[in-house]
C-alpha cells in the first residue's frame, strides 16, 4: 500500500442499527486530489466521512487513511463537520475558533509568553489570511455571516497543516456567490498546499469545474471516477437500479432527473440554520 493513496476503502459496509446503509464500497482517492462525495439525502454520505475518520466502525471491509487504518492518523486530518452555523449569541472571536483547531484538544493552560505561543499566534494569523478572513477574525463569530463563518472554519481545519481535509457539506445554507467563492477557495487550498480534499456535497454544480473525482453514493452502493464518467445516465441508472437521466444545461450545469426520492430542499433538514 502506498501513501500516495490518501483514502482507500475496500468492500466497506456500514450498518446503522440493523440496516445496512451501504456495502461493497470501494474508493481510492489519490493524494492531492479534490474529490466530492455526492448522492441523495440519507444515503450515508456523512456516515462515509465518519467511517474515514474512524468515528464509526465498519460492518465489513477495510478503510485506510494516509496509508494507516482509519482513525489512527486523525491529527493529520482536518475535519469540518456538517454545519449548523454558530449561535448568533456566541461571544467568542473568530480567531479563537481557529486557534482551537491548533491546540484546543490539549490539557492545561497555554502560557501567554514564550516562543511556542508566539509561533501558534503567527500560524493562526497566517491561516486566517490564507482564507481571506483577516478583516472579521476579531469579531464575535456569532455575528459574522454564514460564508464568513465557513471561511473561519476552513481555516480551523487547515491550521495544523493536515494532509487530508474532510469537509461535510461546507456549501450548505450559503447563497450562490458564496458557494462559488468557497469552492474556488477550497480548490486553491488543495492545489497550493497539496492537501487532499474530500468534500460531501449536495449539489455538484458549484464545485464541478474544480473536481478531480467524484464518489457517487446511491442505492446502497457507490461509483467512483471523474465527474464525466460517473454523472451519466447509464452509470446512475445502474447505481440507482431505476431509470435516471442526466441533463446538461447550456451553461454547463448538470441536472439529475428521476432520482427515486422527492426533490430535496436544503431547508428541510437545516431550516433553523439558514443564515443571511
Amino acid at each position: 500500500m502506498t501513501t500516495d493513496t490518501a483514502v482507500r476503502l475496500r468492500n466497506a459496509a456500514v450498518k446503522v442499527g440493523d440496516r445496512l446503509l451501504w456495502h461493497d464500497v470501494n474508493v481510492d482517492v489519490a493524494a492531492g486530489q479534490f474529490v466530492a462525495i455526492l448522492g441523495p439525502n440519507g444515503v450515508g454520505k456523512s456516515t462515509l466521512v465518519k467511517a474515514v475518520l474512524g468515528l464509526i466502525p465498519l460492518a465489513a471491509g477495510e478503510a485506510f487513511v494516509l496509508g494507516e487504518p482509519a482513525g489512527t492518523l486523525n491529527h493529520q486530518v482536518g475535519y469540518l463537520p456538517q454545519r449548523r452555523s454558530f449561535d448568533s449569541t456566541l461571544r467568542v472571536r473568530g480567531i479563537d475558533i481557529v486557534r482551537l483547531g491548533l491546540d484546543g484538544d490539549r490539557f492545561g493552560l497555554p502560557l501567554p509568553w514564550g516562543a511556542k505561543n508566539r509561533e501558534a499566534g503567527r500560524r493562526v494569523r497566517e491561516v486566517i489570511e490564507r482564507v481571506d478572513a483577516t478583516s472579521y477574525s476579531m469579531r464575535p463569530v456569532g455575528e459574522v455571516s454564514g460564508g464568513e463563518q465557513q471561511r473561519l472554519l476552513i481555516a480551523q481545519a487547515l491550521v495544523r497543516r493536515p494532509r487530508l481535509l474532510i469537509l461535510d457539506e461546507p456549501l450548505d445554507s450559503l447563497d450562490l456567490p458564496n458557494q462559488g467563492a468557497i469552492s474556488a477557495l477550497i480548490r486553491r487550498v488543495c492545489v497550493d498546499e497539496g492537501v487532499t480534499v474530500l468534500m460531501v456535497a449536495h449539489d455538484v454544480n458549484p464545485i464541478l469545474p474544480y473536481l478531480d473525482q467524484v464518489i457517487y453514493l446511491a442505492g446502497g452502493g457507490a461509483v467512483c471516477g471523474t465527474p464525466t464518467e460517473v454523472i451519466t445516465s447509464p452509470t446512475l441508472t445502474a447505481l440507482y437500479n431505476t431509470p435516471i437521466e442526466v441533463l446538461h444545461t447550456s451553461d454547463g450545469q448538470l441536472v439529475v432527473v428521476g432520482q427515486p426520492e422527492a426533490p430535496s430542499h436544503h431547508g428541510d433538514r437545516h431550516a433553523s440554520q439558514a443564515r443571511r
Binding site: R91, D105, L109, M138
Partner: protein, 288 residues
C-alpha cells in the same frame, strides 16, 4: 441580623469599622472565594447554556443542608454531597445529543430538580425546628460563616480551579464545537461530566453565600455581563471574576450598613451591573 452601623462617607473608617467584626471578615473571605470560583465555572456554564443544570445543582443544596441538619452532621457535607450527587445523576442520566444545545439533558435536569425540591421539603417538615434555618438555606446566611467554613470553601475552591485549569481548554473546545473536538480526540463526554461535577461544587459553594435560590447572582450574572462586554475568552473569564468579587464586596458592605439581607444586596449589585452592561452594549455597538 446585622447591627445598624452608620455609613459615614469616610470610606477608610467605614471599611475599618466593618472589618472589626470577625463575622464580617469571614463573610468577605468566604464571599471572595466563592465569587472567584463561581465567576470561572459560571462563565463556562453560560457558554454551554447549562444554566438550568446550574440552577438545579444549586437547588440541590437545599435538601443537602436540610438533611445535614436532620442528621446532625456538618452542613458542608450536606451541601457538597447533594450537589455533587445531583451532578452525577444528571451526567449519567442524560446522553449527549447530536444536536447542539442540551435538550435531552434539560428533561433529566427538570426531573432531578423536582425530586430534589420535594426531598428538601420532606427533610424540612421532618425536622420541625428547621424553619429559621430554612430561610438561610434558601436565601443565604453570609454573616454566620465560621473560620472552619472559610477553610473548607478555600480548599474546595483550590480543587475546582486546579481541575478547571487542566480541563479548561478541551472543555472550551467541546463547548463551542463538540463534533470537531471529538474528531480531534477530545473526550467530549468526559469533559462534560467533569464540568457538571465542577458546577456542582461551585453551586455548593455559592449556596453558602447567597442561598440556594440566589446562586445565579454569582454563577450567571458576572459571566453574562462579561460575555456581553468582551469576546476574548481569557479577558472575559477574568472580567467575570472581577465583577463577581466586586458585586460580593459591594453587596456585603450594603448589607452591613442597611441591614437588608446580604443575598438581596449582592444580587441587586450584580443585576445593576447586568443592566449597565446590556445598555452599554446596545448603545456602543458590538466590539470585540
Amino acid at each position: 441580623m446585622t447591627n445598624s452601623a452608620a455609613w459615614s462617607w469616610n470610606l477608610l473608617d467605614d471599611v475599618r469599622g466593618m472589618l472589626s467584626y470577625p463575622f464580617m471578615v469571614n463573610a468577605f473571605r468566604g464571599g471572595t472565594i466563592v465569587a472567584v470560583v463561581a465567576g470561572v465555572v459560571g462563565w463556562f456554564m453560560v457558554l454551554r447554556k447549562q444554566t438550568f443544570a446550574g440552577h438545579t445543582l444549586s437547588v440541590a443544596a437545599f435538601p443537602g443542608a436540610a438533611a445535614a441538619t436532620l442528621l446532625g452532621i456538618s452542613a458542608t457535607i450536606g451541601y457538597f454531597g447533594f450537589c455533587l450527587g445531583a451532578a452525577l445523576v444528571i451526567a449519567v442520566a442524560s446522553r449527549p445529543t447530536r444536536a447542539r444545545g442540551f435538550s435531552a439533558e434539560s428533561a433529566v435536569v427538570g426531573t432531578v430538580q423536582a425530586l430534589v425540591l420535594a426531598s428538601g421539603y420532606l427533610f424540612a417538615s421532618l425536622y420541625s425546628g428547621l424553619l429559621n434555618g430554612l430561610n438561610n438555606q434558601l436565601f443565604g446566611f453570609t454573616f454566620g460563616i465560621t473560620n472552619d467554613q472559610v477553610v473548607t470553601l478555600g480548599l474546595a475552591a483550590i480543587a475546582v480551579l486546579a481541575t478547571m485549569a487542566i480541563v479548561g481548554r478541551p472543555l472550551f473546545f467541546a463547548s463551542i464545537d463538540s463534533d470537531v473536538a471529538a474528531a480531534r480526540g477530545v473526550g467530549v463526554r468526559v469533559v462534560g461530566v467533569v464540568f457538571l461535577l465542577l458546577l456542582g461544587a461551585a453551586a455548593a459553594e455559592a449556596t453558602q453565600i447567597t442561598g440556594a435560590l440566589l446562586v445565579f447572582a454569582l454563577l450567571v450574572m458576572p459571566a453574562a455581563i462579561a460575555q456581553r462586554l468582551t469576546a476574548r475568552p481569557i479577558a472575559s473569564i477574568a472580567l467575570a471574576v472581577a465583577i463577581g468579587v466586586t458585586a460580593t464586596w459591594a453587596g456585603l458592605t450594603g448589607a452591613y450598613y442597611t441591614s437588608y439581607p446580604s443575598g438581596f444586596c449582592i444580587t441587586s449589585v450584580a443585576f445593576a451591573g447586568f443592566v449597565l452592561a446590556s445598555a452599554a452594549k446596545r448603545s456602543g455597538g458590538a466590539k470585540a
